[in-house]
Symmetry: C2
Subunit: 588 residues, 2 copies
Amino acid sequence: MSNYQAPLQDMQFLLFDVFAVDQQWRQSPALASVLDRDTASAMLHEAGKIAGECVAPLNRSGDEEGVQWIDGVVTTPNGFKQAYDTFCESGFSALTGNTDYGGLGMPKSLSVLVDEMMYAANSSFNLYVALSSGASMALDAHGNEFLKQRFLPNLYSGRWGGTMCLTESHCGSDLGLIRSKAEDFGDGTYGLTGTKIFITGGDHDLSENIVHLVLAKLPGSPAGSRGISLFLVPKYWVNEDGTLGAANGVTCGSVEHKMGIKASATCVMNFDGARGYLVGEVNRGLQCMFTMMNCERLSIGIQGLGCAEASYQSAVAYARDRVQGREAGVKSTMDADPIIVHADVRRMLLDMKSTTEAGRAFAVYLGMHLDQAQYAPSAEARYQADAIVALLTPVAKAFFTDLGLDSTVLGQQVFGGHGYIREWGQEQLVRDVRIAQIYEGTNGIQAMDLIQRKVFANQGESLKTYLHEIRRFLQRDWQGEQADFADQLQQRVAQLSELTEVLLQRAQHSPYELGAAACDYLHVVGYVTYGYMWMKMLSACAPNTASHLTKQKTGAYYFKRVLPRVDSLIASIQSGSDPVMSLLAEEF
Amino acid sequence: MSNYQAPLQDMQFLLFDVFAVDQQWRQSPALASVLDRDTASAMLHEAGKIAGECVAPLNRSGDEEGVQWIDGVVTTPNGFKQAYDTFCESGFSALTGNTDYGGLGMPKSLSVLVDEMMYAANSSFNLYVALSSGASMALDAHGNEFLKQRFLPNLYSGRWGGTMCLTESHCGSDLGLIRSKAEDFGDGTYGLTGTKIFITGGDHDLSENIVHLVLAKLPGSPAGSRGISLFLVPKYWVNEDGTLGAANGVTCGSVEHKMGIKASATCVMNFDGARGYLVGEVNRGLQCMFTMMNCERLSIGIQGLGCAEASYQSAVAYARDRVQGREAGVKSTMDADPIIVHADVRRMLLDMKSTTEAGRAFAVYLGMHLDQAQYAPSAEARYQADAIVALLTPVAKAFFTDLGLDSTVLGQQVFGGHGYIREWGQEQLVRDVRIAQIYEGTNGIQAMDLIQRKVFANQGESLKTYLHEIRRFLQRDWQGEQADFADQLQQRVAQLSELTEVLLQRAQHSPYELGAAACDYLHVVGYVTYGYMWMKMLSACAPNTASHLTKQKTGAYYFKRVLPRVDSLIASIQSGSDPVMSLLAEEF
């Protein structure tokens, strides 16, 4: 039932009108050499076409068929291989890849939008691609020249896929506990043994080979997270001449049966003395993972955004079509009106629309900072951008996906009973998006990361820088309603600032204070950030452009009906950790 | 994986310590003759046993198997028939039935708790029972003596099931649009023709016969909802001697494939000149339905509560068992601690616990008012109770189920990745509870019912009565922390009162005002009501009883971390309908 249409107009509005991202591209020689405004627009157009015409039509059939596991071999649903080939042939598997090894070297400010389209069209499908991209990025950052030359070109072309093998059955959030072992063969290769679970794309039939990045411990390494190394283990050994050799002791033991993303192979992977290479330094495996974490987390966050957009588009179409009840206060000759006339239906649609559009802006904003962190000419600018990325990535991951669930639930609700039936596709979006709050670090872990490592650890410095940026942006001559919104946001920024001070104080004395506040605190930062994004969008609206008028009304909805949510969150946090911690474990 | 244990201790605390419901039972001769405190406790114990040992073990297998539809015949999953027989033989299918026709005549204040247990154990299973019970209630209220004698005893015994056939493909919320037709055969029977969809239990193999209550239009009846009549149409015609005759032109065209409640048969029912009886008066069909609506809506609300409780129990067990990460601020010799030590995990568990316990209290409170509306000696008392029931039933239905989704999502989140995998059962609870926000009137419809019919239509009179009751209850000599909570609730009541005045004023001038406020308004009433329930529970706590200390801590969590949510809701409502209505339909 999906009729997904990439929101190209809104994307271009963000890139060029709101953020003038092409200026940033022009300032970096590396970026200026690969794209300009027209190339970017053409690529978005092409991605939208593939998403809408090629990937989206497989979303429901993929959910119905799921992946098949037979004797250790995983088969993806009908049509996935063909769509994958189209996607790769169009260059999208190489989108942000290093140009030295066959990548296209495109900026994150562009790829976040492509990511949104693909997740919106088919989350299961895009996961194969996203994991390959993540593995490539880790390899590019930490692999030696030999590994990069041998593996990156085929990863970029999509001939080979990539995975990240971190989780084991007894540890997910707490990777210090992992038990997988690596043995040094003394010839520059290592033997990997252990079982990994929840491995996305651990086995499948889309590519000729699969490159696994595996966390494991070498003998005698320190306990906990300081004793973990990263290894590259191919499914089929790659010969000197680049041809594929024998199967390499990596097998898929089973696939999980899940609530959603059923066309994504979530595998139990058994490593039985499988041969691999060390990536980066011994015992620095977790750090290697962390360098790419910000991109991966943002990507998974964008799954939330994409699913919300897909659900919104279907809900609007249904609300225009479905007649039921009459418009309040209007004498109509109709038996019933389209349900889009009802205020409560509009509330649902506007909750979705106002948060998804702000989220899209935030994704571009973060993408630009990721680009700056990589390409800015001065070290200072790179450092500044990196600090913003570090601060806001957990917010994006958790907030996009929390609101992604809320939005898809609303989009399902608009359909009434028909939303609960499989054929309309709205319930699938709820099931598919739900995982995004869990994987790539649960949203609870993101909240702790934000409040503990990104705020407390530097005594709120990065946050201050960010809030200062917002304050500075608000110091312009806003007119009319926008002046009110700017005032409101100014107040929220002050509240957040004050709240942070209080928490930093309290955390000196109570070990539970940050944990008790974490989730609500992240949401406060999220809502304030969306307010900032809305002010940026409003500032780019021309008075007489129809689409800009709609923007302004949607922004007004955000300030009047959504932003006030921070009041309750702050009140809840203010009550401190005592109410959270006072029960003994056995009292639950 | 379910290990559901009915929370009997909490249920008895509510019935006897908080609400002294046995006093109310003793005051009614009808109730006093069928139960006392010991009978009630024994029945709860027996229901808990059936729920835990007999019904819960079928929850996951039922989800995996689903219902089968083959050539118009529906088969329930393995074990359902046996569990149904056990349930009925133990008398629970007759629980609240009229004693004149073989019912047990038990009060709603008891049956709400049995309902909670059964929904917690297996929502799909309990739906068959709940629909039969609803159909029996409608028949008892509106059928003539002939119909009651012929049909009620077998409905109560469970030999026959019952359904409610309201929805058609083009109308659910707006029943005025229905097209099913009835033809008067002139011999006291009617011929029914049309297609109904989403009919829970429309066909199945649990009972010998199925009694359909069907809304349809007689020729020449007025347009819209004033021209709808109610008919009883058995699957097999019932002969004069009570034996079953031929199949009666009612067939199940298909079953829906749904997000959840997969073991519940959701049927497309085709009536092809099927013979039936008129129930109640011509063109009063909707009114007949409405008399039982309050019970049905409360029952469906309780599905939300039951699923939340089941999810909570599993989440607590998992949080005690799963080790991951270390307790903040504690030097431990362990590699990792059970995750129940983490503040953010406790936040999730306490959100669930504090709202589910308040919800259970509210269910008993409403059950008692339903009993009063039926059994109170004075007409005045019956009228008063009925007004409270009418006011608060939409709140219970929507608030229980909205928080039911929130709770099951939290319970799933506690499990991390394992919550997304089918084998643990947490994801099923999310899928199963989701329907409860939709059927039996979507929560948007409940919100409109509350604000429009139950508040606006009587200029806030019922609400005033209710708030006055809360205020009166709060006027006692609260000690310590409870005095703060009483103050807080007092303030919230004042805010709600003021908000209502504002809305009533505005609604005079703007037709959209109520609709734009509806959903948030219902949540405000819900949170205030839960605060009231918590004060009732706190007032029944003895200082040195261990379970009561836990209650007090849980109540404190509610006031400090949950009740503040009303701040944002009120702020959002205050902004009025303009932000909701300003977009043109084509701007979405």
